[in-house]
């Protein structure tokens, strides 16, 4: 199982948990497992085509998976996945 950190804005759909565990050997499989356990997260995280929602960023060990292999990015159990809403940065 891999640790997944849930941002405050999505916790209501994830049993009010700050972090949850999910299984999968890719980011996509892991997110499928996650939304299987917490169905309310599906439409928040994924778009109609099964891709990542435009306003959701997913980081594997701190690196945005969109710049790795996207949903096909390989995941190990020791990794940490962080889900965050896209937000304006300081400027």
């Amino acid at each position: 199982m891999t640790m997944v950190r849930i941002p405050p804005v999505l916790r209501a759909q994830a049993g009010d948990s700050k972090q949850v565990e999910a299984a999968g050997d890719t980011v996509g499989a892991l997110l499928e497992d996650l939304v299987g356990r917490h169905p309310g997260l599906r439409e928040q995280l994924l778009d109609d085509d099964g891709g990542l929602h435009r306003f959701v960023n997913v980081y594997l060990n701190g690196q945005d998976v969109r710049y790795m292999d996207g949903l096909a990015t390989a995941v190990r159990e020791a990794d940490t996945l962080i889900i965050l809403p896209a937000m304006a940065g300081g400027a």
Binding site: R54, Y59, Q63, M87, A88, G90
Partner: protein
């Protein structure tokens, strides 16, 4: 060096300094561009100049206009300096939880401050400023998050300065706020070296800084094209400050907290490279963070993650 006709002409031409004692890989050269050397102490002087000149050229500013802009501090301070020189009144929408020095500097320059809720961070400031714009016809918003003049400032000044000082650049690292630096300097540097890679550092938002009500309030700056960079990394405040302290200790450089975050990413990339040259842009100096005891506070204390320091 010749005299500057005005402070505007003193913007840019910032130092590029090699930091070999800080760099974790001796086979890689790491250089930092010290944007704290700009007149108000940040990279945003470049942007503010382009934003105001864009407004003036476009004819959007009338005699009774008030410039209105959301900012977590640096852009507001730069605009405030510019507005002093050009004579425009300025209102800055700024999150309530930014460091004291940012408010002080805006006061010194005579800008009006409207506070947005701290827990919604820059998102809340952008939202409030865009709503205010519709309430008063005198307001004119440069809108750094959406205005192409922002990346253009970096395309025409930051990028060429880096190329002139370091034509051998392989990797460029900068912080992600509006995306202006990454887009503008990145595009110019890639024209110089098509194999160049561009990486973004972004702050991990603390629990107390994520007051979004729904994902639909999510925000991607209009000027930011995600496909124009090669990678993006989250950095915690504690990691950023740790790197910042090490930079001060090893190289004597006094920079702001986002500079620490940029250096965490630059170090991560350096460790993966066999050889090559990295340029990291350090957006501001350390002065505006003194009140938060950034160089001495306990980083084990999780409260540090809920400070608004970028």
């Amino acid at each position: 060096m010749s005299a500057s006709p005005s402070l505007l002409d003193a913007i840019g031409q910032t130092p590029l300094v090699e930091v070999s004692r800080f760099c974790p890989n001796p086979a890689v050269r790491l250089l930092v561009k010290l944007e704290g050397a700009n007149p108000t102490g940040s990279v945003k002087d470049r942007v503010a100049r382009y934003l105001v000149e864009d407004l003036e050229r476009s004819g959007r500013l009338k005699e009774d206009s008030v410039i209105l802009e959301p900012s977590s501090g640096n852009t507001g301070i730069s605009l405030a300096m510019l507005c002093r020189l050009r004579g425009w009144p300025l209102t800055v929408v700024m999150p309530a939880n930014v460091t004291r020095e940012r408010r002080q500097m805006l006061d010194i320059y005579g800008a009006r401050i409207i506070e947005s809720p701290g827990d919604t961070g820059s998102n809340g400031a952008v939202e409030m400023a865009r709503a205010l714009l519709a309430t008063d016809a005198r307001y004119v918003m440069p809108d750094q998050y959406a205005n192409p003049a922002n990346p253009l400032a970096h395309y025409e000044t930051t990028g060429p300065e880096i190329i002139a000082a370091c034509p051998e650049i392989d990797v460029f690292v900068a912080g992600l706020g509006t995306g202006g630096t990454l887009m503008g300097a990145g595009r110019r540097l890639r024209e110089h070296n098509p194999a160049l890679r561009v990486y973004a550092a972004e702050p991990m938002p603390g629990e107390m800084l994520q007051g979004l009500r729904s994902l639909d309030e999510g925000f991607v700056p209009e000027i930011f094209d995600p496909s124009a960079i090669d990678g993006r990394f989250l950095v915690t405040t504690a990691e950023s400050i740790t790197a910042l302290r090490r930079l001060t200790a090893t190289e004597g450089i006094f920079a702001g907290v986002s500079a620490g975050g940029v250096l965490v990413v630059a170090s991560r990339i350096a460790e993966q490279m066999a050889s090559g040259t990295i340029v990291a842009l350090l957006a501001d100096g350390g002065w505006k963070y003194l009140s938060e005891d950034v160089w001495s506070r306990d980083l084990e204390d999780e409260a540090v993650e809920s400070l608004n320091l970028w």
